[in-house]
């Protein structure tokens, strides 16, 4: 059984390192130019080089998104930028426009992946890109498992499939709601997510929804724990997690869950799905569903009548280091917590170890009655060894 690549998002060098430590085989990052997700903290060339060096030392890969749909005046500097990416050691670029694809082919040896922004939904369109010398297509999120199986049987192209994260409600790349409603270009990094707003629905002059229930189009986020085994059986080459703007806790939790799930399936261990479902829930701040995996979406895949962002408060600290003689850990505070709280450790080793917080001290040794300040360095006793990049979260 071929083990697929686990591909994670990284909005910063810290997130990239977390993604790799927690089990990603490759990450995708945005550069400062030609990339969607304008608000993600995108990388400059020196940071991209640092990211590639870090990844390659671990025998892992870095892909850079160059997936805007450029207008005439966005093209300046394209060839220089692509050559800089090649020199930085980037393993592939993710593209959605012929001008970027051909510029890369003509001026670099960069591997090119076709972005989901091109909404490739059938094997004929995927084979169009094979004829163009492309080795991988990020498939449309509208495909179900049967369609993926048919694709596998009818193309030699490497198939990359989204397994987790936010979903466009529209076919990707074909939506200008944001352009029309906010002047922000969805295909050039400015999507305002207008599809997630609340609307009233009218037939003629008659309002069809009640005042307390808006017409909503918003989609639940994708979560495919139950489908990973089938995707591996189908022969999907890369399983992609969405979310370059998500937190390190989200990335660590989601990546480590899928990492272990994929390994267990491919190594033929017994798979305890409830355990994985419970674990991945700890990262969620939006409701999730399987998207199109089982066929056409139903009401179970949509969000109705709710403001759906519920930031998780479980992640309380990131371990910076640990003194094995005193059992004192230095941690960076991420959410409010108190002495006596029950805490578990999330680590790349996936040890489900728990402890109770005793004293909380600042770095000068002053005792604190609570950990209040984000990013403050704190000292706490942990009765077992923890490591840098381990994460602490409350047990609910």
């Amino acid at each position: 059984m071929k083990k697929p690549e686990l591909l994670a998002p990284a909005g910063s060098l810290e997130k990239l390192k977390i993604a790799f430590m927690y089990g990603a085989d490759a990450v995708f990052i945005g550069g400062r130019k030609f990339s969607l997700r304008a608000r993600a903290s995108n990388f400059d060339i020196s940071q991209i080089k640092e990211a590639c060096d870090f990844a390659h030392n671990l025998n892992k890969k870095v892909y850079v998104t160059t997936n805007i749909i450029p207008h005439n005046d966005n093209i300046e500097g394209l060839v220089d930028y692509l050559q800089e990416l090649e020199q930085a050691g980037v393993d592939a670029i993710i593209c959605a426009s012929p001008i970027i694809i051909d510029a890369a082919k003509e001026n670099t040896n960069l591997e090119i992946h076709i972005s989901t922004q091109m909404s490739n939904t059938n094997y004929e369109s995927v084979n169009f890109w094979v004829e163009e010398g492309i080795t991988r297509v990020v498939l449309a999120r509208e495909l179900n498992k049967q369609e993926l199986l048919e694709l596998r049987s009818n193309t030699k192209c490497h198939m990359e499939v989204f397994i987790h994260g936010g979903m466009c409600v529209s076919y990707s790349g074909r939506c200008t709601l944001s352009n029309n409603m906010t002047d922000r270009d969805a295909n050039r990094g400015g999507c305002a997510h207008s599809c997630r707003w609340n609307y009233d629905l009218f037939e003629g002059e008659s309002k069809l929804n009640d005042n307390d229930l808006h017409f909503a189009m918003s989609s639940k986020d994708l979560q495919t724990v139950k489908h990973i085994s089938d995707l591996i059986d189908i022969g999907v080459d890369s399983l992609k997690i969405e979310g370059r703007m998500k937190s390190i806790h989200y990335i660590a939790t989601v990546v480590s869950t899928y990492r272990r799930l994929i390994d267990n399936i491919c190594d033929d261990y017994e798979v305890n799905l409830p355990k994985y479902l419970l674990e991945i829930k700890k990262a969620e701040n939006r409701l999730t569903s399987h998207g199109f995996m089982e066929g056409m979406t139903t009401i179970d895949e949509q969000l109705y009548n709710m403001r759906n962002e519920n930031p998780t408060q479980e992640f309380i600290g990131l371990v910076h280091d640990y003194d094995e003689e005193t059992n004192i850990a230095t941690i960076e505070q991420r959410n409010y917590f108190l002495p006596e709280e029950e805490v578990e450790v999330l680590s790349p080793n996936f040890r489900p170890l728990h402890f109770k917080v005793e004293d909380i001290k600042d770095t000068d040794g002053n005792a604190l009655d609570a950990a209040r300040h984000p990013k403050q360095l704190l000292k706490i006793f942990i009765p077992f060894k923890v490591s840098k990049y381990d994460m602490l979260r409350k047990v609910k």
């Binding site: 409600v169 076919y171 074909r174």
Partner: protein, 295 residues
């Protein structure tokens, strides 16, 4: 520049031709999105005969997002089109290019993926693929249209008049909403009298669900009366899409544009037409540059 229209019936073609339409865009709703009318293959054949007799051109709209299960029927339909002999085939999915190439009719293809033809190089790329033309994306300014046309290597078309769509989801969003509220939904499928209004915006966007998913349109239709003479110098095909309107509307607008094109000096008349239409028409993105990366 040729003027293309989307007729509502076979019987309206002759009148629309008389008003000045050069190209007729027809489609069947199994293979096309957002049509004004779904023509059967028999009606398409009848239309072809009339259009040929009139010395005009027939384009077939084949702009569905193709899924694997559609491929066999799409190929059959392309074979029908090939046999019929048409002047253009509008597509938005690369799978259709692959099938058309096998059938050796790629020279009839016009690529219109709605949002992806945004710079001059797109015409160079598709010229190398041997297709007939491209339709420029809807959110492009007049300045950018002009620059694309100056460097074009294929036929260039724009949708210059009519309601522009801004969203297409595969999801049955209308049906799902009424299933959620436990209300009857059937009467709202293919219902073109639906609008959505966002909670802080006073704009009503047409929305409908059909067998290809859910579509949302801009509130106001686009008009280009004051730009038509500029566009004449660079654009090859100016499309008037009659969706949400009727045959009389098409006849009137074709006549208006033709009148402007025939006048020696049309500025005053163009302003009068714009004024007449301003209640539910605007200039779309012709003068409105969308924000790139800075907000």
């Amino acid at each position: 520049m040729k003027i293309a229209v989307t007729p509502f019936s076979v019987s309206s073609i002759e009148r629309l031709a008389k008003e000045g339409s050069d190209i007729f865009i027809l489609g069947n709703d199994k293979y096309a999105n957002r049509l004004v009318y779904s023509f059967s293959t028999m009606e398409i054949t009848d239309a072809k005969n009339i259009i040929s007799t009139l010395g005009k051109e027939l384009y077939i709209n084949l702009n569905i997002m193709v899924h694997n299960s559609d491929l066999i029927d799409v190929e059959k339909f392309l074979n029908f089109i090939k046999e019929l002999g048409v002047d253009g085939i509008i597509f938005g999915d690369l799978g259709i290019y692959m099938i058309a190439k096998r059938l050796e009719i790629e020279t009839k293809l016009i690529y219109n993926p709605e949002t992806l033809n945004t710079n001059y190089y797109d015409t160079h790329f598709w010229n190398k693929k041997g297709i007939k033309g491209l339709t420029i994306s809807k959110e492009i300014t007049l300045e950018d249209i002009n620059e694309i046309c100056l460097k074009k290597k294929t036929e260039i078309s724009i949708i210059g008049h009519g309601h522009l769509n801004m969203f297409h989801s595969r999801r049955p969003l209308i049906e799902n909403f009424f299933k959620y509220t436990k209300e009857e939904y059937e009467k709202f499928i293919n219902n073109r009298n639906l609008r959505i209004v966002e909670e802080i915006r006073n704009e009503a966007y047409p929305i409908f669900q059909d067998l290809h998913g859910t579509h949302i349109f801009r509130e106001k239709a686009l008009e280009s009366y004051q730009e038509i003479r500029l566009l004449r110098d660079c654009v090859d095909v100016f499309i008037i899409d009659g969706i949400f309107k009727d045959t009389n509307y098409l006849i009137e607008t074709v006549g208006n544009y033709k009148a402007l094109l025939h006048m020696k000096e049309s500025n005053d008349k163009a302003k009068i037409f714009s004024k007449l239409y301003e209640r539910d028409h605007d200039s779309g993105f012709l003068y409105k540059k969308t924000v790139y990366d800075k907000y």
